[in-house]
Amino acid sequence: MKLELRGITKRFPGVVANDNVNLTLNTGEVLSLIGENGAGKSTLMSVLYGMYKPDEGDILLDGSPKVFTSPADAIAAGIGMVHQHFMLVPVFTVAENVVLGVEPTGALGKLHIDEARRMVREISDKYSLDLDPDAVIEDLPVGVQQRVEIVKVLLRDAKVVVFDEPTAVLTPSEIIEFFEIVKTLVSAGRGVVFITHKLKEALNIADRIAVLRRGKVVGEVDPKTATESQIAEMMVGRPVQLIVNKNSASAGDVVLKVTDLTVLDADGRKHVENVSFEVRAGEIVGVAGVQGNGQTELVEALTGLRKATGGTITLDGKDLTHSNPRERHQMGMAHIPEDRQRQGLVGGLSVAENLVLTRYHDDQFSHGVVVDWDAANAIADTLISEYDIRTPSKETGVGTLSGGNQQKVIVARELSRDLRLTIAAQPTRGVDVGSIEYIHSRIVKERDAGTAVLIVSTELEEVMALSDRLLVMYRGRVVAELDPKKSTPMEVGLYMAGSRPDSAVNA
């Protein structure tokens, strides 16, 4: 089936999300749609999937125009979508999730669950996906959950399968398996749209790459001839530095020392278990791991947002295991949190107010209980220009800025003072390529000024490029300490998945 998008335009109040977009997908082909956050990839696919009605333009399947008013229409026309956040009911079994919406039923709507199981098994066998129809979703690893999503799409006999950022949650070895599945789909005559912001993967799997910028298709490239920096330049609109530029570290004294740290939640589940490590002045220590292996809880315990159940944390030799976040802050700890909207910023407050959010009570900014707004505004102006924050004014609500600029507000606030330790979690998540480059250089600069830096990221490439030493977390434990210069992503990926590269010897 040939899919054509012709002149698609979708406007939201104040923005043109898609501006006269033309795309074609042929049978048995992988088209990669690449672009920064906010470039309009997701909007375009929501239009295709019947979730948004385009203001202009047509969707054509094999040459005949179609109008989709709901996902049901798109599904019926042979379009399937695997969303970035899996659309699976966690407490249901695989079979229940797969047949939801197209249930095999009898009288009174009685569910034929045996039939559903058989359908899952059939597709699973045909594409060698190895799924147990009776497994409950929440017990399955994300890689397997993704295969359930694929079975859902195949059961509905989709001729065009759209994958929205499918590799974001996968380990390197799961990504390789995923690419195998994509190849099987394509060889079975289905078309695949692969949405991503990872240049390497697009080059690896796609037959054609379409680049989106500010709602427009700015060009199509052939992955056989194109290079990463060429595509990145198309995405951003200017040349971009893709490699992190840094000299080797000169590590000094131990700044952060974590000993046997254990973190339990209210239900008694262990998120962090007996973790010990050190971060020295002037070095960047990275923590790699698949999302949900205790990194979030580790950072929260280090920054005082969550109680440490056991173990100790010291900064420059002082025990701060039971200190509150402000005390830690005053001892020279900076925190760039993983969820900037929830933990890093107050969306309703202005850029200037957010910039002094951690310091308004210092003598510099307050006379008794009254905030000195002249001083605060002056420092805000300085930071806005120094950190290149693109904002209409310092009075603008921070929630209206782009993701990259919001992140720069946090980086400016946290790094613009004398620091001993910087903790950055997912520092570039949802941030455009241009800002990533800037934030990385800022972090390296901080290291070179003698600060100890701890980076936690699920983006393996990022954490390997930035860190001088690399820890890998799996199920709440640090399972490996590696030298990123001497390790391959594949090797780190094995630790992230819980297996040891040398397990064949040890077993």
Binding site: F92, L111, L264, D267
Partner: protein, 414 residues
């Protein structure tokens, strides 16, 4: 790396261990209560099962024996644990404790045990139906705090329509009123995405205010609008001849039979049909169902309406199943007890029925006690059954898990 594990003690989570310990303490506590309070009165207690047969239990020895047994069981639980048998042990222990309590209260006299159990079943009806209304809503992602208001509305409409056109019409009137009140909940919660708890409370106050106002201004001057012939008990052929059970379960009004059918039917539909699968899906993760073409909004509307009908029917129990009239605030908080039954029953109709029976039993015991001369203050009598209920609930239920999306408005574009 092997941690030494006691082979017959499975690894328990912190929460499970805490619960096991609490169960142990509860057993010891119940034992001490029977030793010091319940063993205080001599004499035999008579429990009349059928007209011709009464069982006599010696109150003091029974309480003493029970006290020893409970403390022993508690000690075993604390030091060793019953593992998977914990709930069974706790159920038997609590049941025996209730009997000891009754023995103590009835010592030197006798009362009809069968009558009390029959009363238990009768009184559980509005709680069961209210809880099913709550389950149908919450399983589809709408929190229904308005059960109380729907019961009250149903009771009012049942009385008035029943007085004018007969009890069958009264039933229909009550159902219509329940649907009407739930439609308010549906429109505000689903269409306008207002906070569901707030809408629910507003409906409760609206329903209480409206029915009280109408009762004073219309029903008081026109008593002919507030006198209805209730349904009389119907003895099921053959089944009602079984001793004890026949009276308790099969010599009841229409309402008891309807609520049992409602439990069976709603369980079957929730777990065995397409409607049930979709309902549970939109209560857990509506986006997942929505992207597969399920019309989340429509299904939520439908479920809230059906729930309203069930609650309205439950409200009709007061005028049409018992007293034959409507009084101000006649439901007196049963809707909130139904809400508790939803949670204690873990959002499952059978669980809710069990919880409703426990609450029904507490009401029945409390009524019976006030007739017996026990010498304890009536305030304590009102309290005691609930204390037992709390212990049972803390022990049996542990922590239950609500449908994940309950309380969240659905927006298809997100």
């Amino acid at each position: 790396m092997n941690i030494a594990v006691d082979s017959d003690a499975p690894l328990l989570s912190l929460e499970q261990r805490k619960r096991a310990r609490n169960v142990g303490f509860s057993l010891v506590f119940l034992g001490l209560v029977s030793a010091f309070l319940l063993a205080g009165r001599p004499g035999n207690a008579g429990f009349k099962l059928v007209d011709t047969y009464t069982v006599f239990l010696p109150a003091q020895p029974f309480a003493r024996a029970l006290a020893v047994a409970l403390v022993a069981l508690g000690a075993i639980q604390l030091f060793r644990g019953f593992g998977k048998w914990t709930n069974v042990v706790l159920a038997i222990a609590t049941g025996t404790f209730v009997i000891a309590f009754l023995t103590w209260a009835a010592s030197g006299g006798s009362f009809s045990l069968t009558g009390m159990l029959q009363d238990t079943v009768t009184r559980s009806v509005p709680i069961t139906l209210g809880a099913i209304a709550g389950i149908l809503c919450e399983r589809s992602g709408i929190i229904n705090i308005a059960i109380e208001g729907q019961l009250l509305g149903g009771a009012f409409a049942g009385a008035v329509v029943g007085s004018l056109y007969g009890p069958w019409a009264g039933l229909l009137g009550a159902i219509a009123m329940g649907v009407g009140l739930s439609a308010i909940l549906a429109v505000f919660a689903i269409r306008f995405r207002v906070d569901q708890v707030i809408v629910g409370f507003a409906i409760n106050f609206f329903s209480l205010g409206l029915t009280s106002f109408l009762a004073q201004r219309v029903l008081t001057p026109h008593p002919e609008y507030n006198i209805v012939r209730p349904f009389t008990p119907y003895a099921v052929p053959l089944l009602s001849k079984i001793p004890v059970i026949g009276v308790v379960l099969f010599t009841q009004t229409l309402f008891v039979y309807v609520s049992i059918i409602a439990v069976v039917v709603s369980t079957w539909f929730l777990y065995r049909t397409r409607w049930g699968l979709r309902t549970r899906a939109i209560g857990e993760y509506p986006q997942a169902a929505g992207t597969l073409g399920v019309d989340v909004i429509k299904l939520r509307y439908r479920n809230v309406w059906i729930a309203g009908a069930v609650a309205g029917l439950g409200g009709a129990w007061w005028p049409l199943g018992t007293v034959g009239r409507f009084d101000q605030n006649i439901t007196n908080g049963r809707g909130f007890i139904a809400l508790a039954a939803v949670i204690f029953g873990r959002w499952h109709p059978v669980g809710a029925l069990t919880a409703a029976l426990v609450f029904g039993l507490s009401e029945a015991i409390q009524l019976k006690m006030s007739n017996l001369d026990t010498g304890i203050p009536s305030e304590f009598l009102l309290m005691a059954p609930y204390i037992v209920t709390l212990i049972v609930v803390a022990g049996f239920v542990g922590r239950s898990r609500a449908p994940k999306a309950a309380g969240q408005a659905y927006d298809a574009s997100k």
